[in-house]
Symmetry: C2
Subunit: 286 residues, 2 copies
């Protein structure tokens, strides 16, 4: 694209879209023009003020129509609602990428887009439990996996553009099948969220002010994901329901096994379960 | 104690005992002498080298006999094993404090100590998932609750000394009944640990390298407690078994309720559970 201006349109300027705009701004030269579409004039003003974007629009057709690349940064079901409009307004050859946290339903919907569009499902594996443009940061994607799910119809050249874009913001692009992605993130992201929700609701139901007053960093960290944005997580859980339920059943079985060993006072089995988890985590999580 | 030297003997120089020695050293003047007893000559050398202690001993009788205050900083069942020896070697009037994470069994055992001793169960609500003197830090207790469980036999003056000691290291002392303490920490500390263990063991059993490779900060934080020292946690779980099992049952019920709402695709109920947890956490955890 040397010599001509490339326009990237980011739809949504929350934590993910805002961070992406900031990261693209840092990564790209004067030949990249960043346009954003949101429903909030105030957020557009903020993004313009910090130089994250070149132009803002409250209108999807207006933002999308002149772009070479469109990136949808919204909750999963909002992305599903946006797709037909993007299909209608985007020019032929446009690379369409999204940042939604479950991929099977989005990729299935992308298959119905007009032929000329080049869709690639995307999911950068990063986040914070705080939402909104005010929490956005250019470094959010750095050294994090960025899953890409091309469709059978996607041109290799378009996938290559998505790959280059992910690399340009410091992420590690990784091509995965949507179902493989959804099953994996159900285990390492949606299941931990469910565990955090159950933990908070359990302590809430006990209604013990002393318990809350003694809560320390261990409780804070274990429950952190329960502070995630509700609408975003609701969309994720509902669109990835089958995989999440499957992991939840396996988790419940592990939890029951731990409970049984403790209830029986079976010290040897209990030590195995605790030491096994400690060893696994030491080997897997840095 | 102005005008005379006070000797404090810390038994155990792991994360908690080491941090306590460092904190006492910072808080106290030249009239406080800090003695440590451990099983490791190497750790004693390290503690002497950084000036955390004035004297080290590998012998419990030697360390305890000249002390005005003895603090047991070891796993719960190790504390239970140490108590008879401390009862034998400590001088009349000695304040005996411990830092064990469950209190009912320790306080019950303290009741059998010789009359002259002044026992107070203790539990500073802080910690890290890293163990050992190398991880110790003087600020560990700062602004954290420090639970104190006096026995019916404990002189108010001795409780007052424990209170002053907790204050001197920056902690917030708080007097609680052992059973009330054990029930509260089962919910906000031992239950989250169990949830973290089940989470790691669940993902381990699935044996999906892609899942591990996509794990991000959310998984890392939710599972952090699974890296806690196994022997310490085993002692806690086994000595606080009844309260922990009770919380685990309530947690399993909350988890099942969440799973049922998701399996049924009951969006309204699911939103209630997620939003309720988010709201509760925002109000309770800073």
């Amino acid at each position: 694209v040397t010599g001509r201006t490339e326009t990237i349109c980011v739809v949504g300027l929350g934590l993910m879209g805002g961070s992406l705009a900031l990261a693209l701004r840092e990564a790209s030269g004067a030949h990249t023009r960043i346009v954003a579409v949101t429903r909030s004039a105030e957020v557009l003003q903020q993004a313009l003020a910090v130089g994250a974007i070149d132009r803002g629009s409250l209108d999807l057709a207006d933002g999308v129509s002149g772009a070479h690349t469109v990136i949808l940064a919204a909750p999963v079901r909002a992305i599903l609602r946006l797709l037909p409009g993007v299909g209608e307004f985007a020019a032929r050859g446009t690379l369409l990428l999204d940042l939604g946290s479950s991929k099977a339903q989005i990729c299935a919907a992308m298959a119905d887009l007009p032929d000329g569009l080049q869709p690639v499902g995307g999911h950068p594996m990063c986040g914070k439990e705080v939402a909104g443009f005010a929490s956005a940061e250019a470094d959010l994607f750095r050294d994090r996996p960025f899953v890409l799910c091309p469709l059978p119809r996607t041109d290799p050249e378009a996938l290559n553009r998505a790959f280059t874009l992910a690399r340009s913001i410091g992420a590690r692009p990784l091509v995965l099948d949507p179902a493989v992605h959804d099953r994996a993130v159900a285990g390492i992201s949606h299941l931990p969220y469910a565990a955090a929700i159950a933990l908070i609701n359990c302590v809430a139901q006990a209604d013990d002010p002393i318990a809350w007053s003694l809560a320390s960093s261990g409780f804070r960290d274990t429950s952190r994901l329960a502070s995630s944005e509700v609408e975003m997580m609701l969309d994720i859980m509902l669109t990835n329901r089958v995989a999440v339920i499957d992991w939840m059943e396996q988790y419940a079985a592990q939890f029951r096994e731990l409970m049984a060993a403790l209830a029986a006072g079976d010290e040897m089995r209990l030590r195995e379960l605790l030491a096994g988890a400690q060893r696994t985590r030491a080997g897997r999580i840095s």
